[in-house]
């Protein structure tokens, strides 16, 4: 655009900004309303998108606490038509099945067997009924719970069936109290175990089988199989196989691969979902309204942008319409169309930029303030999103500039005499 800015350079721009500023001050109410529209639009989009992200993240975190991107393979029964479930062939997994998966399955990052049983745990005068898990090192990697003190369970513990225990964050408080520590001995169903590690806090899980990880005791899988033999099967039964996805997006493929390998070993159909039930929070999340909520928020934010955009646009249109005689006068005393457009551009830009920056500040402050509130595990807090900042600023600025420029462009296109007559 060639205007005053074109040749007069910085001095010209400064001059135009001065003029623009004066015009803004001259139309205080209109400027304020326009400004408010931009501020409102920008700030709400940043906050709403942040909130949508926050809800999504809350759910994601809630599901991830059981183990990020993990899946569970439970024990099932062969599905045969017209046969009552109780009469169908019983299936179970063994350590060999776990090893076979570990060897052959390409899509899971980790595979591990896990057994669980509620047992009584006692330390000094205290006794609790707790969820006791038999775990493998890979399983601990899948669960992802941090070790706060001591050490994790290692392969050597499994190899030697050591009677060692890693205590969950809350179980430590409830069972060990103030006196217990790494090195203390606890009894699980009467058998002494030495505490080798304590888990850091995991938090409230949105998916779990049995107790929360924070309330669990972890012992080596091999020890668990001896401590809690199966009621009626005469071999070590792995009650559950867990695995971690390499790629969240490949959940269906990974399930298919795992099921096919196990089905072959268990001699069932590779498509029999009842025989080999696999459940993953990832699928759950995809189905849950979490993502829909995010979409909804983005839509609400989009609508806010549109509404604010319309507000700004009508304000600008009105402003330029009222100033048509002014455009006529300026043209009459020698302004080129370029000069007029430059003036309107800078003036509109001043309002929109100011509103945008204030809006970003307000939206950011609100989002960050709410994000900093110490909330529970399952209370959503907004997540600050640069995308939202960029999108809202871009949309608001574009709308504002177009709304200011288009009518000015039209007004400057007709004969000044006609524009003046509109007075």
């Amino acid at each position: 655009m060639k205007g005053i800015a074109g040749t007069a350079g910085l001095a010209g721009i400064a001059e135009s900004f001065r003029q623009a500023w004066r015009l803004l001050l001259a139309h205080k109410l209109r400027s304020t309303l326009t400004l408010f529209g931009v501020v409102w639009g920008t700030a709400s989009v940043i906050f709403l998108v942040g909130w949508g992200e926050g809800v999504s993240k809350m759910l994601d975190d809630g599901f991830s606490r059981a183990g990020k991107d993990m899946a569970f393979v439970f024990i099932g029964r062969v599905s045969e038509d017209f046969t009552p479930a109780v009469d169908r062939r019983a299936l179970w997994y063994t350590q060999d099945d776990v090893e076979a998966l570990r060897r052959r399955a390409r899509l899971p990052e980790y595979v591990a067997g896990e057994t669980r049983r509620f047992g009584s745990a006692a330390f000094r005068q205290r006794a609790l009924n707790v969820d006791v898990r038999g775990v493998e090192p890979d399983g601990m990697a899948i669960r992802g719970a941090p070790i706060a003190e001591g050490r994790p369970i290692r392969q050597s513990d499994l190899d030697q069936r050591r009677r060692v225990v890693v205590v969950g964050h809350d179980a430590r408080r409830d069972l060990l109290g103030a006196e217990g520590r790494v090195g203390s001995w606890v009894r699980i169903d009467g058998t002494p175990y030495q505490v080798i590690g304590i888990l850091g806090r995991v938090g409230t899980q949105l998916s779990r089988e049995g107790a929360e990880i924070d309330d669990q005791l972890w012992i080596p899988l091999t020890t668990h199989l001896v401590q809690f033999p199966h009621e009626w099967v005469d071999e070590p039964v792995i009650g559950m196989i867990i695995f971690k996805l390499r790629d969240r997006a490949l959940i269906a493929e990974t399930k298919h691969e795992v099921r096919a390998i196990l089905a072959e070993r268990l001699r069932v159909s590779p498509t029999d979902e009842e025989a080999i039930p696999i459940w993953s929070p990832v699928e759950m999340m995809n189905r849950m309204p979490a993502n829909r909520q995010r979409t909804l928020m983005v839509m609400v934010a989009g609508a806010t942008l549109v509404v604010s955009g319309i507000g700004i646009m009508s304000m600008m249109l009105d402003s330029v319409r009222q100033r048509r005689p002014e455009i006529g006068i300026r043209l009459a005393v020698g302004a080129t169309r370029g000069a007029i457009l430059t003036e309107f551009f800078l003036e509109t830009f001043a309002v929109v930029a100011m509103g945008g920056l204030v809006g970003v500040a307000v939206g950011s402050a609100l989002t960050l303030a709410m994000a900093s509130i110490e909330a529970g595990d399952l209370v959503p807090v907004p997540v600050y999103s640069w995308d939202a900042v960029a999108i809202s600023l871009t949309v608001m600025t574009t709308v504002g500039l177009l709304a200011g420029l288009i009518p000015a462009w039209r007004a400057s296109r007709i004969d000044p005499a006609e524009t003046l007559r509109a007075d």
């Binding site: 005053i4 004066r22 001259a26 006068i329 009459a332 005393v333 020698g334 080129t336 000069a339």
Partner: protein, 239 residues
């Protein structure tokens, strides 16, 4: 003074050949404001264009001032066909060569008087300081330098008209066009305005005044009468 290349070679400031202007008002039939006007105005002339309201004289002034383009005929300004000049070229002409004095002043209400007068210079990219000096000089010429920092709403109609004249003169235009410059003023104020315009004329500019006031017309060296979009009379008064 102007960027019209062959200005020096032309004896005429204004040459109109069969000038026409039609308006279409909504869906109604065409309004023929000018129906073929032939007119030559030499450099340095002072001409009063007379005629009743609705005669087309304001439309004529708009075309002379490059604020509007004719629908037919030819307008040569200092020898150059105005229809060959693009919009930006016309804008430059309006800013440098032509000074237009509007009947309703057309001052920008938010700017003070000096800033209003500076406006043509602003669009010529004249530096700030020089702009201010020339604006104050132009205001002094119309006796309004003491009102420089007032806004139009704070001064009288006569003063506003003088401010509008100062704005028209600030670029030392070769052609000054005044559309009913005394129309909104009482007789005394009107005389003042006329004296200023005569001063401009004696400084060498071509001056065209549109008026329906016979008193003003009588004091101009040449009087052109317009009626129903046609020139009906053209008389030179020997001084």
């Amino acid at each position: 003074m102007t960027d019209l290349g062959d200005e020096a070679s032309s004896r005429l400031a204004i040459e109109l050949i069969g000038l026409r202007k039609h308006y279409r008002e909504g869906q109604a039939e065409e309004v023929q404001a000018l129906r073929g006007i032939d007119l030559e105005i030499e450099r340095g002339e002072m001409v009063a264009v007379m005629g009743p309201s609705g005669s087309g004289k304001s439309t004529l002034m708009e075309i002379l001032g490059c604020l509007s383009r004719p629908t037919g005929g030819e307008y040569r300004l200092f020898g150059q066909d105005a229809s060959t000049i693009d919009a930006d070229g016309l804008a430059r002409l309006r800013g440098r060569t032509v000074g237009f004095i509007f009947q309703s002043f057309h001052l920008l209400p938010r700017l003070d008087i000096a800033e209003n007068v500076e406006l043509p210079l602003f669009y010529q990219r004249v530096p700030r300081r020089e702009r201010r000096e020339r604006a104050l000089a132009a205001l002094a010429r119309v006796g309004l330098d003491h009102r420089a920092s007032h806004i139009p709403g704070e001064i009288s109609g006569g003063e506003r008209q003088r401010a509008a004249i100062a704005r028209a003169l600030v670029n030392d235009p070769s052609l000054v066009l005044a559309d009913e410059p005394t129309g909104n003023l009482d007789t005394d104020r009107g005389q003042e305005i006329l004296e200023i315009l005569k001063g401009v004329h004696s400084d060498g500019a071509t001056v065209v005044i549109v008026t329906h006031d016979p008193g003003i017309g009588a004091r101009a060296p040449r009087k052109v009468s317009i009626r129903d979009g046609l020139k009906v009379d053209d008389e030179r008064v020997s001084a």
